[in-house]
């Protein structure tokens, strides 16, 4: 297991380098940060000066090399818009995103798995149909639209929750629900499928033949065997989750990495975008590693080597 973890960690730099390189090139090729950054009234001399300072006059590959040097120095270079090293800017936003994503994940996971179990146990009956329909409806709901509808309903009409921003646990509810709705349906559907599949396993009959109660069968025997595909899916969805958080954070003025990233892309603030992509990629890779480790703990057959 240790070797597995080390090997997986060793592949991260390759992955990240690939991701960083692509991001860098696309950003540089598709926009001129100087034009965006400088005042509309900036003189050509000013423009030239800044361009030189940012090494924008060098060939792309040299720029990338210089950039990598900044990365190696540990700060990803100076952000244009923030006029500070890029990495701390991104790290400063990390907490908010982790809060949002983890609460949303927890919400989606708990309710999704519970819903999936209920749907599987009542397969082809009304609860299954309702849950499946709800799940599919949730899947079909564009999340920004849902976000706006939630604000209108719960903040403006009912006045139960604040519209946006941060500050208290109430502020977290609407964005977390919006983001969770993004994942919840899939958790329901996948849990339903794996529970149905696992339900026909012979070892459950063994447990029943021992005289185990149905609840013990569900929680001691069935779930530990059914949960791994759900976890696999979770790992695969981390990227989409970050994508979803971009929109959710924008709608709810949540000061996380998602909203920072989209804004920095539009500003062609390459250091910040790449620092963000870097952090996000590492988070995703680590989350997947965590999922693998978790799976191997749950299921000893998934030996990690």
């Amino acid at each position: 297991m240790f070797a597995f973890i080390v090997r997986r960690l060793l592949t991260i730099p390759i992955t990240i380098l690939l991701v960083v390189f692509v991001t860098f090139i696309v950003l540089r090729v598709t926009g001129d940060p100087v034009q965006i950054y400088l005042d509309i009234n900036a003189t050509p001399e000013q423009t030239a000066l800044l361009r030189e300072r940012l090494h924008l006059d060098e060939p792309l590959i040299v720029q990338f090399g210089l950039f990598l040097w900044d990365v190696l120095r540990g700060d990803f270079g100076m952000s244009l818009q923030f006029a500070t090293p890029a990495l701390p800017v991104v790290l400063g936003r990390l907490g908010a995103t982790i809060q949002l994503v983890s609460v949303a994940l927890l919400f989606a996971f708990v309710f999704g798995v519970a819903g999936g179990i209920v749907a599987a146990l009542r397969k082809d009956r009304l609860p299954d149909f309702l849950l499946s329909a709800l799940a599919v409806a949730g899947q079909s709901m564009p999340s920004f639209w849902l976000g706006i509808l939630l604000i209108q309903t719960f903040a403006l009409d009912l006045k139960w929750l604040p519209t946006s921003g941060t500050g208290s646990w109430q502020h977290l509810i609407l964005p977390a629900v919006t983001l969770a709705t993004f994942l919840l349906p899939n958790f329901i559907l996948i849990t339903r499928t794996t529970v149905l599949e696992t339900r026909s396993e012979l070892f459950l009959t063994t447990a029943r033949s021992k005289g185990a109660s149905e609840s013990s069968i569900m929680f001691r025997h069935l779930l530990p065997n059914a949960i791994n595909p759900v976890l696999s899916f979770l790992g695969l969805q981390m990227g989409r989750l970050v994508g979803g958080s971009i929109i959710t954070e924008t709608i709810f003025a949540w000061p996380g990495i998602g909203s920072l990233m989209i804004r920095s892309i539009f500003q062609r603030d390459v250091p910040v975008v790449i620092a963000a992509v870097f952090i996000v990629s590492i988070a995703i890779v680590l989350a997947n590693l965590l999922v693998d480790i978790l799976q191997s703990l749950i299921d000893p057959r998934m030996r990690l080597d």
Partner: protein, 507 residues
């Protein structure tokens, strides 16, 4: 029900909220009873005064003052400088206000002015607003409260340019370093910097010793809410007392809500659709004029801008800008004449074209571009709307190819010089070229004689009116939403919020 506080501060919820806040370390959420909450579209990404954007300047001028201030209509007035005079065409003398102190109690002196200007004007400086005062040659401290500024050429826009330069405390910057200054800015302004969470909030407390008098609120909390509908919701829900940048179609939502209202003010931003006059068909002035005539500007103004702002009077300058030519009229819609002109130019069957625009850069920008494109169809011109993202637009600017027609809003901050420069060859931005225009521009820029300058700008407007290098659309409004409990705040024409007089009425 009127709310002046953060909405959920009472009872159990308050306790929960407080504990949650403590837990989450985002304590600025529950400010004091008299804190003014402001929802802005975007907070500046950096507090560095070198970053020039409305958002950055808006924040900077809350904690700092400039030598010259502007009022809500854009007129200059004395700031840290009590008065000024032109000693000769190249020399200005500023008499500084006495008894002004920085937030740490240190007196403000001429040294601070020289320090600030020298920093900006240093050859390697990329200070954002450098061009505003670029023609300054040197700054000299005459005495503790007098500063003399020498310019390389006669520099008529110096005063207005200085109004965008917040004065920094020399002793503080030298002591803590520029980075610390950027992290925790300090000045002589009405509010004292308290905290800043990038992308989220910017918190200020009142400066009781402010030279214009202590603010009437205990503090200001700016919150960044990029999504317009969310911003509007926060106003209606009573979380904010002021919100900026309200899209037109959200206005009804606010107007229908109780205790809040909308106010728009005309800015100095003139929205144009600029032709690429280098290539056919727009190298032909008849085509340009015809397309100008194809657009029913009052209709768009009425419908898509809800009558907020103004229709440009056949020129690029807004009526509140020095240099505006009152004799010119807007070019009216005349489809017959337009078709005739197109036929004359050989485009009776029309042609395909496209309008390049960014989305969300200007109020209703895409809507206006789409509406214009729709109207072109009436004269058989088939126009697509090419929405490009900010970064791509920047690349197009650099390559000097923004498509046959592109939408841009030029702002003048009240003086024609800042706007007209973009149609000169030196700007690197113009496609259209006119020798007389160039001459007049240079002339107006190098004299401090107001009448002479006005005449030159008026003539330049006439030339543009004839040559139509662009379709002159609208003087854009800036639309604010405000709580009815708020007094002492007027929507500013230059997006700089002046809040030291703002007051929130008690219930």
């Amino acid at each position: 029900m009127k709310r002046k506080t953060s909405p959920r501060s009472g009872g159990l919820r308050g306790v929960l909220a407080l504990s949650a806040v403590g837990l989450w370390g985002l304590s600025a959420g529950l400010a004091g009873a008299q804190t003014l909450n402001v929802g802005v579209q975007g907070l500046p990404d950096s507090l560095d005064t070198a970053v020039s954007s409305f958002a950055a300047l808006n924040m900077a001028l809350q904690t700092m003052d400039a030598l010259v201030l502007r009022d809500d209509t854009g007129k200059t007035m004395p700031g840290l400088a009590e008065s000024w005079e032109a000693v000769d065409p190249l020399t200005w003398r500023f008499n500084l206000r006495d008894g002004v102190t920085f937030h740490d109690g240190t007196p403000f002196t001429a040294e601070d002015v020289k320090f600030t200007l020298d920093y900006i004007l240093a050859p390697d400086s990329v200070y954002g607003s450098k061009s505003r005062i670029g023609q300054i040659e040197s700054t000299a401290v005459v005495d503790e409260h007098t500063v003399e500024i020498t310019t390389t050429v006669p520099f008529p826009t110096l005063i207005i340019g200085l109004s965008d330069i917040p004065i920094e405390p020399k002793h503080y910057v030298e002591k803590v370093g520029r980075e610390a200054m950027i992290a925790a800015p300090m000045g002589t302004g009405p509010f004292v910097f308290e905290s800043w969470v990038p992308g989220d909030r910017y918190a200020l407390t009142a400066n009781p010793d402010y030279w214009q008098g202590a603010p009437k609120v205990e503090g200001v909390l700016f919150r960044q809410i990029p999504e317009a509908s969310t911003r509007a919701a926060s106003l209606i829900a009573g979380e904010n007392q002021i919100i900026e940048e309200i899209p037109i179609d959200i206005i009804p939502q606010i107007e229908q809500s109780e205790d809040v209202s909308v106010q728009g003010v005309e800015t100095t931003v003139g929205l144009l659709l600029t032709f690429d006059t280098r290539n056919p068909p727009y190298d032909d002035v008849r085509v340009r004029r015809a397309l100008n005539m194809a657009v029913n500007k009052p209709l768009i103004f009425d419908r898509l801008l809800q009558g907020k702002g103004a229709v440009l009077k056949g020129q690029m300058l807004t009526s509140n800008t020095f240099g505006f030519n009152p004799d010119l009229e807007e070019i009216p819609q005349d489809l017959e004449a337009a078709k005739a002109l197109l036929e004359e130019a050989g485009y009776a069957d029309g042609f395909d074209t496209s309008i390049t625009t960014r989305s969300g850069k200007y109020l209703s920008d895409v809507d206006i571009a789409s509406a214009v494109a729709g109207m072109f169809r009436d004269v058989n011109v088939n126009a697509g709307v090419n929405i490009v993202e900010q970064g791509v637009f920047s690349k197009m600017v650099q390559a000097r190819d923004m498509g046959p027609l592109h939408m841009v809003g030029w702002y003048s901050v009240g003086d024609a010089d800042f706007a007209t420069v973009w149609f000169t060859e030196d700007s690197g931005r113009a496609y259209w070229k006119n020798d007389e225009y160039e001459e007049l521009f240079t002339k107006a820029r190098s004299t401090v004689d107001e009448a002479e300058r006005l005449a030159a700008y008026n003539r330049m407007m006439e030339i543009m009116h004839e040559e139509v290098p662009a379709i002159f659309l609208f003087g854009l409004p800036s639309i604010y939403g405000m709580s009815d409990s708020l007094t002492g705040f007027e929507p500013p024409s230059d997006k700089i919020m002046r809040l030291w007089n703002a007051e929130i009425a008690a219930d």
